[in-house]
């Protein structure tokens, strides 16, 4: 424990050291303070923008899009993935189409969506939905397929029908793999949201960062970037926590069985 604490302390100290280095280098004009304003200035601006509600408001707008597209993708692609994973005819029917669309980088469809939907919420939600769809679909499909046949056979022996088997056996047993898809998709949603806001939007964190750069409000730009970094970190931590709790019971339950 003591060793762990001192390691953590060293690591945080290193981060502070980097910030300090930035401050000194910028103050002494070793790098252009125009492009890299002193860290203290950036942090003060960040604090003010957070307190006066500017950044939180932009963040709420971005979150609406991110989670809108993300949950839409879960709602559509999890049932679809289960169907494709369990029923061979459905898999055969949709596999070629998904294989052809999958390699498209999600941001490349932004212009198409802008043509049809303008630069409003719908465009971003659809683009985020698209970018989250494939990780969720593929992991759900794989998860459903990799369920131990013994589990299914056992349930069948006990007289469970098809729907009971799907709901009571296959879904719980493949939940951790399905969750893996969500875990991959959420950071992608964040990235694609920022891209789509930078390409075409009226508000949102991505838009904020780009506008501040273009109007040369560099400390404000860094404040936006810090916020994005913190959001990325927080989402990652949340996912790791959820994963630990999910995988925790999963391991205990299924390793005992198999």
């Amino acid at each position: 424990m003591k060793e762990f604490l001192s390691a953590k302390f060293k690591a945080i100290f290193f981060l502070i050291f980097l910030a300090f280095l930035w401050e000194v280098v910028s103050r002494n004009r070793l790098i252009s303070p125009l492009y890299f304003p002193p860290m203290s200035k950036n942090l003060v601006v960040f604090y003010h923008l957070m307190v006066d509600g500017t950044l939180p408001l932009e963040l709420v707008r971005s979150f609406g899009r991110i989670f809108g597209g993300f949950f839409l993708a879960i709602g559509v692609m999890v049932p679809f993935g289960i169907a494709m994973g369990l029923f061979k005819p459905i898999y055969n029917l949709f596999e070629p189409v998904t294989e052809l669309v999958r390699p498209l980088p999600p941001p490349a469809i932004i212009p198409i969506m802008m043509l049809f939907l303008g630069i409003g919420e719908a465009m971003k939600i659809i683009v985020i939905f698209f970018s989250c769809s494939f990780p969720i679909l593929i992991n759900t499909m794989d998860g459903v397929r990799s369920v131990e046949p013994t589990l299914v056979d056992t349930a069948r022996t006990f007289g469970r029908n098809r729907y009971e088997i799907i709901l009571q056996v296959i879904l719980p047993a493949s939940l951790h793999q399905i969750f893996t898809g969500w875990r991959i998709a959420l950071p992608i949603a964040l990235i694609v949201d920022i891209v789509s806001e930078m390409v075409g939007a009226l508000n949102g964190v991505g838009r904020f960062i780009l506008v501040m750069q273009r109007s040369f409000n560099i400390p404000e730009m860094y404040a936006g970037i810090f916020l994005v970094a913190l959001v990325g970190y927080a989402l990652n931590a949340l996912l790791r926590f959820l994963n630990a709790t999910l995988i925790g019971w999963h391991k205990a339950k299924f390793e005992a069985v198999v």
Partner: protein
């Protein structure tokens, strides 16, 4: 009846038919004005624009520029990622020192750094390359780190007993054992590099496929825009296929090798 059932269950025939249906719809719906043809031109028009772009070498040139940028950023990322991953994986105090910084930077969406890179590099290739390198380094770095951590200490001890030096250990034990992990990081990053090059070109560049689709979008040359998007898809798909082929060829030793030992 039985034949139909077998076709449905065992062959991708139905999927091929569905694909054909989609293509026919893509052709017919705009032609009859059911979807707005200016925004969604018929399939044949888009393919025509694609071939025209290839014939005039316009699309090929833009693709070459994008691929070149993606590769330069990607190789820089390999260099940084593998080096850092090996160092932090083998030197304890270094990984302790960098942990928090890495955990803070890694989940950061690379595109958020676009404005900084524009300030620093303008719209030169260095702008695209720096963002690509930032985005591609993490998967390689993390996989290399995990790979060096996964090594059985017995292998290291055995090599040491046979008198291996530190460099020998690295060259003959650590790197080969971590290679399968590194390769999977490389594959993830290859896809990432194509995505990021597209994004950075869409946001601020005067060349490349990402620029091409935004330019044609703004100029309202919609068939050309679709042709550009299709080209990006083909490039991404082709590079991934090439990588998988290379992996089969050069990593084939790994399957038999680990199977023998474990």
């Amino acid at each position: 009846m039985k034949v139909i059932k077998r076709l449905v269950y065992d062959t991708p025939l139905s999927g091929g038919l569905l694909l054909l249906v989609f293509i026919i719809l893509w052709e017919v719906l705009p032609r009859y004005g059911i979807v707005y043809a200016r925004y969604f031109p018929p399939f044949s028009t888009v393919i025509g624009a694609l071939f025209e772009g290839i014939r005039s070498t316009e699309i090929l040139r833009q693709a070459a520029i994008s691929i070149s940028r993606a590769f330069r950023g990607y190789f820089l990322a390999i260099l940084i990622g593998v080096t850092l991953g090996t160092l932090t994986g083998t030197i304890r105090w270094l990984s302790d020192l960098l942990e928090v910084t890495v955990e803070l930077l890694r989940p950061m969406p690379s595109v958020a750094l676009v404005p900084i890179a524009i300030l620093l590099f303008g719209t030169s290739d260095s702008y695209n390359i720096s963002i690509i390198t930032f985005g591609c380094t993490w998967p390689i770095f993390v996989n290399t780190y995990e790979g060096t951590k996964s090594i059985d200490t017995q292998w290291i001890d055995t090599a040491r007993v046979y008198g291996a030096s530190r460099l020998d250990l690295l060259r003959k034990v650590v790197i080969p054992a971590a290679l399968p992990y590194i390769v999977s990081g490389l594959r993830i990053s290859l896809g990432t590099s194509i995505i990021i090059v597209t994004v950075t070109e869409m946001l601020a560049s005067y060349k490349g496929l990402g620029f091409f689709i935004m330019e044609t979008y703004n100029a309202y040359q919609i068939p050309q825009m679709y042709a550009g998007i299709i080209t990006i898809g083909i490039v991404g798909y082709g590079l991934n296929r090439l990588f998988l082929a290379g992996e089969d060829r050069f990593m084939a030793w790994h399957k038999g090798w680990t199977a023998k030992f474990i």
